[in-house]
């Protein structure tokens, strides 16, 4: 049996309590029950075992080569080549540098198991010696992944996790342009051998009297928007059961934005240990986001808005959703 401290196959924080509630629709109430479907596995990796063991134990990547046509498939997902009358394939090692088959998508709004990991890329790399492309996560070593860093043809290096379990997530790719030549050349490069740019809070310029005056004006406008959002039932639902204290730092001053189960509030000032810090030199960016005139996500991508914790993209989405809900409600 695993020890109490061992990592679980289902994250404990994802598991809801037993419970139920009543939901009213057009004057009638309906029962809604907390529930789950779950199945545990001892999953046999069968013919894929050598591939996953090579990742875990040897930091090598295997493909399979058709003994007839020579096509090298990576990962080695067949033992016989369906193009050659099911001729047998043989395992071969391929390189750990390759190029992206196409520009990879970047996920900002992830499925519930991956919300701690956004933003991340997932694309297909054609490794040296391979004919097919393998799905991999793509990252940049330099802050938040945005479009343009990794594109079709970008040369990438496979990097190995330090803790490997014999899974596809034992590896990921970063652009070779972000690495030193010796790192690119090294076989079995591990994540700890890379200089990751840490999320440093960007500095703000010294405050001028003009900045302060503009700040006061913008805060007043922000408060008006917040009042409107709070008056919108649909927008309130977007932040139901959600609590966050956000310290917002701008060039003219700081403010504290609180989300408290359906209620949004904004006050000038600061707070000792916020759940999230936002640095927005131009407060107008936040105003526009909440007023549905621009996207906060895009502001993060274009470095006009900095957030201290990437998993808090969830909170950013909720704020954006409120803005859209208010806009929708105005149309209805």
């Amino acid at each position: 049996m695993s020890q109490k401290t061992a990592e679980k196959v289902i994250p404990l924080e994802a598991i809801p309590d037993v419970g139920s509630e009543m939901v009213a629709v057009e004057g009638r109430e309906y029962l809604v029950v907390n529930d789950a479907m779950f199945t545990f596995f001892k999953r046999a990796m069968g013919e894929l075992t050598p591939f996953f063991l090579a990742l875990r134990d040897e930091k090598r990547i295997l493909g399979c080569r058709c003994t007839k046509c020579g096509l090298v498939r990576v990962p080695p997902f067949v033992t016989r080549c369906p193009d050659c009358g099911f001729a047998p394939t043989e395992l071969v090692e391929v390189g750990d540098v390759g190029h992206m088959l196409a520009t990879p998508p970047v996920t900002y709004f992830a499925n519930s198991l991956f919300q701690q990991q956004v933003p991340f890329g997932r694309g297909r790399v054609v490794l040296a010696g391979a004919d097919t492309a393998m799905s991999v996560n793509c990252y940049t070593t330099r802050g938040i992944l945005v479009p343009g860093i990794i594109e079709k043809g970008t040369e990438v290096k496979v990097v190995f996790r330090s803790r490997r379990r014999g899974e596809i997530t034992d590896i990921f790719c970063v652009p070779t342009a972000e690495l030193q030549p010796d790192q690119v050349a090294k076989k079995g490069l591990e994540e700890t051998e890379i200089d990751w740019e840490r999320g440093q809070e960007p500095p703000l310029p010294a405050v001028t009297p003009e900045d302060e005056a503009l700040f006061r004006e913008l805060v007043a406008r922000l408060k008006a928007i917040v009042r409107e959002l709070n008056a919108c039932e649909r927008a309130r639902r977007d932040i139901a059961n959600w609590w966050r204290t956000i310290l917002v730092k701008t060039r003219g001053g700081s403010l504290v934005m609180k989300i408290a189960d359906g209620e949004l509030s904004v006050e000038e000032g600061t707070v000792p240990s916020p759940d999230l810090v936002m640095v927005i030199p131009e407060l107008e960016v936040l105003l526009n986001g909440l007023a549905y005139r621009g996207s906060l996500t895009q502001a993060i991508m274009t470095r006009r808005l900095w957030i201290s914790k990437n998993p808090e993209f969830t909170t950013v989405f909720k704020l954006e959703r409120m803005a859209r809900s208010l806009a929708r409600s105005k149309k209805a």
Binding site: E13, P105, F109, Q115, A133, N241
Partner: protein
């Protein structure tokens, strides 16, 4: 092969959430509606093909088994089809084959999905859990653990297309299409976002969910059901005489499933060959040579606006690399040659997965009849990297 036509159809409202109904009742509503539309008794139906995509959404394996008696077809033929997003279109393709082959004179095609009972207790919202549930559809050895989603797998194809055709799929054009679809949804009383008309600027400003897709360029998950009744020629004509509604014949059907692995001898990432091949096969069967001239209505499975554009090109309405001409030359704009997604598409009508393509067929039939048009194309797409494609051609005599 016998001639097969649609003699009845119905949809339930597509909603973000049905607290008031389970999938049992949604299935029953659509069935009863389709039977009423066809003026038929359930005893006159030979069998049923169910379109239900995801077991987990219904919270049951073989979720169709309780439906057999709920829809009054106990002791009759019942086949469940599950083909990702293309489930509904494949269900109609299967029923067509059974009726055309003479196994049954009439068949019900019933699609239903209860997609948003899933709930993520961490973000306290449904969508991330819905996406996770669909995420179990990615390759279980090599992709699920990388955060595979339907969006990022379609985005792979779209970005690869944009690599090949950098001037196409301009943000202004995808935004214009989304805005146009939102206007068209107003005519669909069953649409989830019937009164959510958006401007091009709103679409352009909406947040990126998975690059390059913006929130207002992605279909919305729905709960709902849709049903059509197919009949062989003689039966169909008798039903038509009874109801006074014309038979809408299914004159072409085509399907293709591409490889899900990419690279040499596998998926060509910048193409959606499944849609190209499915359309080619359906056109051959229906005798269509020039789809732009010979088709009046397209009900296209618009999982994403960008994919709508590529699919239109793959199906031969515009050249590959010039899909923006759909808007720039007005082809799908008001007064243009084609009526594309008069129901608002899945982006505004909603995507109740197993029911969606059947809803599209319901809409295409409705438009042919009420506008007195000749031909419609119904399209379904599904699985990772737009792997599955199905096209049906509907015709009014």
């Amino acid at each position: 092969m016998r001639k097969v036509g649609i003699v009845g159809a119905a949809v339930t409202p597509f909603r973000a959430k049905w607290f008031e109904k389970t999938y049992y009742e949604l299935a029953q509503m659509a069935t009863a509606g389709a039977l009423q539309d066809a003026g038929m008794d359930v005893d006159d139906v030979g069998g049923v093909v169910y379109g239900i995509y995801n077991d987990i959404f219904q919270r049951a394996c073989i979720p169709e088994h309780p439906l057999q008696c709920i829809i009054g077809l106990e002791n009759k033929f019942g086949l469940r089809v599950s083909n990702g997003g293309a489930t509904g279109a494949y269900a109609m393709s299967a029923a067509h084959a059974y009726v055309a082959a003479g196994r049954f004179d009439t068949m019900l095609v019933l699609g239903v999905e209860k997609a948003t009972d899933c709930f993520d207790f961490q973000s306290m919202s449904a969508t991330p859990e819905v996406i996770k549930t669909i995420g179990w559809s990615g390759d279980s050895f090599f992709e699920q653990k990388l955060g595979w989603t339907a969006s990022d797998s379609y985005a792979e194809v779209v970005l690869a297309y944009m690599d090949e055709h950098p001037g196409d799929l301009k943000p202004e054009v995808t935004a214009e299409i989304s805005a146009q679809l939102s206007i068209q949804a107003r005519d669909n009383e069953y649409a989830q976002r019937r009164f959510d008309q958006v401007t091009r600027e709103e679409v352009l400003n909406s947040r990126i969910v998975v690059y390059p897709f913006k929130e207002l360029e992605i279909c919305v998950y729905s709960e709902g059901a849709a049903a059509v009744i197919l009949a062989e020629e003689e039966t169909a004509r008798a039903i038509s005489r009874n109801t006074g509604q014309p038979v809408i014949w299914i004159t072409g059907v085509g399907e293709a499933n591409e490889p899900s692995f990419a690279g040499k001898n596998h998926k060509t990432m910048h193409r959606i060959l499944s849609h190209h091949l499915a359309a080619k096969r359906a056109y051959e069967m229906a005798g269509i040579r020039d789809p732009l001239e010979e088709i009046d209505v397209v009900e296209l499975h618009d999982a994403f606006v960008h994919q709508l554009e590529i699919s239109m090109a793959e199906m031969g309405f515009v050249p590959l690399g010039q899909a923006d001409s759909l808007v720039e030359e007005g082809i799908m704009m008001p007064g243009g040659k084609l009526l594309v997604n008069p129901c608002g598409g899945l982006i505004y009508s909603g995507h109740a997965v197993g029911a969606s393509n059947i809803m599209s067929a319901w809409s295409a039939r409705r438009e042919l009849i009420r506008r007195g048009l000749r031909r419609a194309l119904v399209h379904g797409t599904g699985s990772t990297v737009a792997q599955y494609g199905v096209v049906l051609i509907l015709e009014q005599e």
